[in-house]
Amino acid sequence: MAILSKVTDSLEIEAWAIGAEFPSAAAVYEAAQKVRDKGFKWWDVYSSYPIHGMDAAMGLGKSWVSAVSLAGAATGLTTAVLLETIPSVFLYPMIVQGKPYFSLPAFFPIMFELTVLFTAFATVFGMLGFNLLPRLHHPLFNWERFCQKASDDGFFIVIETADPHYNAEETPKLLASLGATNVTLIPRD
C-alpha cells in the first residue's frame, strides 16, 4: 500500500499497532464512531485537548475511577475517626475547654479534611493505575509523526494489532476510507 510509510518495508519488524492521522477534531470524532461500530476494543484516540463527547463516540462507558474515589473517602473517614477517638478517649483522655472526651464537633474538621485528602489521593493514583502509568516507554513513541504532532495539532487513531478485529489488509483500508492520512504501522520495539 502506497499510504504506508517506510517502516513497513522491512518485514522483520513486528507491528504493535496501526496509526492514522486525521485533519480535525470533527474528522477524528466521526472516525472514532465508525471504528467503535466496527467492534474494535484495543484502540485509542489522541488529541492535544479534550474533545467533548469523545467518550461516547469511542464507546468507553463510565469511568470507574469514582469507585476508587469512594473507597478512598471511606478509608479517610475511618482513619480520621480512629485517629481522633483512640488517643482522645482511650490513650490520653484530657479535658480541653470543658468539652467531653468524645467531642464530635471538634473532630469533624479533621474527618472532613482526611476524607478529602484520601479521596484526592485515591482518585489521582486510581486514575494512574487504570491508565497503567507511570511507564518509561511506550511503543507509540516509535512513530515519529505522532511524537511531533500529538501534543501540538495532530488528531490520531491508533488500533493495536492485538485487537481481535484487526486485519492487516482491511484495517488500513478502513482507516483510509474514514479520511485518514499517514496510515502507518507502528513497530513494537
Binding site: 479534550p50 474533545i51 467533548h52 469514582s66 469512594l70 469533624f108
Partner: protein, 399 residues
C-alpha cells in the same frame, strides 16, 4: 467545544399550549381559602399565627431569591449550559412580585414578631439602644425598600429582556444583561444577607452570627435549584422543553449536590465556631434548639438536609435523569421547610416541637398564591429563550 457535530437545527420555540386557566383557578381558590383560615387562626392566637406566616413567607422568599441568584450567575459567568432552563429560573425569581404584597401583614403586625420593633423594649433594653443605628425604624424602612425594590425590579428586568430577545433575536439584550449581572450579584448579596439578618436573626435581637447570611443563601440556592428541577420535570412530563437532555439534568444534579454540601459546610461551620467559643450571647440560638424535642429536629435536620441528599446524589446515574432528581428535589423542598420551621418556631414554642395547624394553612395558602402566579408566568412567555445566541451550544451540551 461542540465543533465535531456538523448538523444543527434550532429547536422550535415552545409555549404552553394547554389551558392553564382551570389549574390556576384551583390554586387561587386553595390559596385564598387557606389564607382565610390562617387569618381566622390569627384572630385566635395572633403571635403563633404570625410566626406561621413568617415561616411560609421566608420559605417562598428564599426560593425566589435563590432562583434570581441562578439567573444572574448564568449571565455573570456567560454560561451556555443553562440557556434552555433559564427561563424557569427567571419565572421562579419573579414570584417576588407576590411576596412584596405578602409582606404587608408582617409589616403591620411587626410588634408581635420582632421584639426590637417595640418601643417599650427599646426603652428598657440597653443592648437594643446600643444597636439603634442598625435596628432602628428609619434604617429598617430604607433596607426594606432596597430588598423588595431591588429583587422586584431586577427579576423583572432579567425576565423582560430575555423575552424581548425571543422576539427580535438581538444579541444586544444578552450584552446588556451580562453587563448588569456583576452589579446584580452585589445587590443580591446585600439583600439576601441583610434580609436574613432583619427577618430571622433579629427574631432574637440579642443573638448574632456573622455566618447567618451565608447560611440562608446556601439554603436558598439549594432549594431553588430543587424547585427549578421540579418545574422542568413537570414541563417535560407534559411533552414540553424538548431540547432539555440528560446532560442538563446531570449539571443541575451536580449543582444540587454541590449546594447540599455547601449548606452543610456553612451550617456546620456556624455551629462549630459557636460551640467551641461557648460565649453565652452566641450559644443562646443553639441552646434553644437543643432543648427537649427540638434536639431531635436538629439531628433530623442534619440527616435530612445533608446526609440523605448527599448520599442519594453521589452516583452519576441518579443525576442524569429528571425522574430520580425529582424525587430528591421534593425531599429537599420538604427539608427546606423543616429548616425554616427549625429557625423560626423555637422562638415562640420553646417547650418543644409543636405543629400548629396555622403552619400548614399559611404555607399552603401562600404556596397556592405563589404557584397561581408562577403558572401564569410560565404560561406567559416562551418556555426557553428560543433566540439566545448560546442556544446552539446549550442544545449540543455534553459534559
Amino acid at each position: 467545544m461542540s465543533d465535531h457535530s456538523h448538523t444543527y437545527t434550532p429547536p422550535e420555540p415552545e409555549r404552553l399550549t394547554r389551558d392553564i386557566g382551570p389549574l390556576r383557578k384551583k390554586l387561587l381558590v386553595v390559596g385564598i381559602v387557606a389564607l382565610a383560615l390562617t387569618a381566622l387562626g390569627g384572630s385566635l392566637d395572633r403571635v403563633q399565627t404570625l410566626h406561621s406566616y413568617l415561616f411560609a413567607f421566608m420559605y417562598f422568599f428564599t426560593i425566589a431569591a435563590g432562583a434570581f441568584f441562578w439567573t444572574i450567575l448564568h449571565y455573570a459567568t456567560n454560561g451556555n449550559w443553562s440557556v434552555v432552563v433559564r427561563r424557569q429560573f427567571e419565572n421562579i425569581a419573579n414570584v417576588v412580585g407576590v411576596l412584596v404584597i405578602a409582606f404587608i401583614p408582617l409589616l403591620i403586625f411587626q410588634h408581635d414578631i420582632w421584639a426590637w420593633t417595640r418601643p417599650e423594649e427599646l426603652a428598657t433594653s440597653e443592648l437594643l439602644q446600643k444597636k439603634q443605628p442598625y435596628l432602628g425604624m428609619t434604617f429598617y424602612a430604607v433596607r426594606l425598600l432596597f430588598y423588595f425594590g431591588f429583587f422586584f425590579l431586577a427579576a423583572r428586568f432579567y425576565r423582560k429582556l430575555s423575552i424581548v430577545q425571543d422576539g427580535d433575536g438581538s444579541i444586544v439584550h444578552s450584552w446588556r444583561l451580562r453587563w448588569w449581572s456583576p452589579l446584580s450579584i452585589i445587590g443580591f448579596g446585600i439583600s439576601i444577607t441583610f434580609s436574613a439578618i432583619d427577618w430571622l436573626m433579629a427574631l432574637d435581637y440579642h443573638w448574632y452570627s456573622t455566618m447567618w447570611g451565608v447560611y440562608v443563601f446556601a439554603g436558598a440556592a439549594q432549594s431553588s435549584m430543587a424547585a427549578c428541577i421540579l418545574v422542568v420535570y413537570a414541563l417535560r412530563k407534559h411533552g414540553y422543553l424538548k431540547p432539555v437532555t440528560s446532560e442538563h439534568a446531570h449539571i443541575m444534579g451536580k449543582l444540587l449536590l454541590a449546594f447540599t454540601v455547601f449548606w452543610a459546610y456553612i451550617a456546620f461551620s456556624q455551629y462549630m465556631l459557636i460551640w467551641y467559643a461557648n460565649i453565652p450571647e452566641e450559644t443562646v440560638f443553639f441552646i434553644k434548639r437543643n432543648i427537649g424535642s427540638w434536639t431531635y429536629l436538629s439531628i433530623f435536620l442534619v440527616a435530612g438536609h445533608f446526609v440523605i441528599p448527599f448520599l442519594y446524589l453521589l452516583p452519576q446515574a441518579v443525576k442524569k435523569s429528571f425522574g430520580s432528581l425529582g424525587v430528591i428535589a421534593v425531599w429537599i423542598l420538604f427539608m427546606h421547610a423543616v429548616d425554616y420551621f427549625w429557625i423560626i418556631m423555637p422562638v415562640v414554642r420553646p417547650a418543644g416541637i409543636h405543629l400548629a395547624w396555622t403552619d400548614l394553612t399559611a404555607w399552603i395558602g401562600l404556596g397556592g398564591i405563589v404557584l397561581y402566579y408562577l403558572v401564569g408566568l410560565i404560561g406567559g412567555a416562551g418556555l426557553f429563550p428560543s433566540r439566545n445566541p448560546r442556544l446552539e451550544e446549550c442544545v449540543k451540551l455534553t459534559n
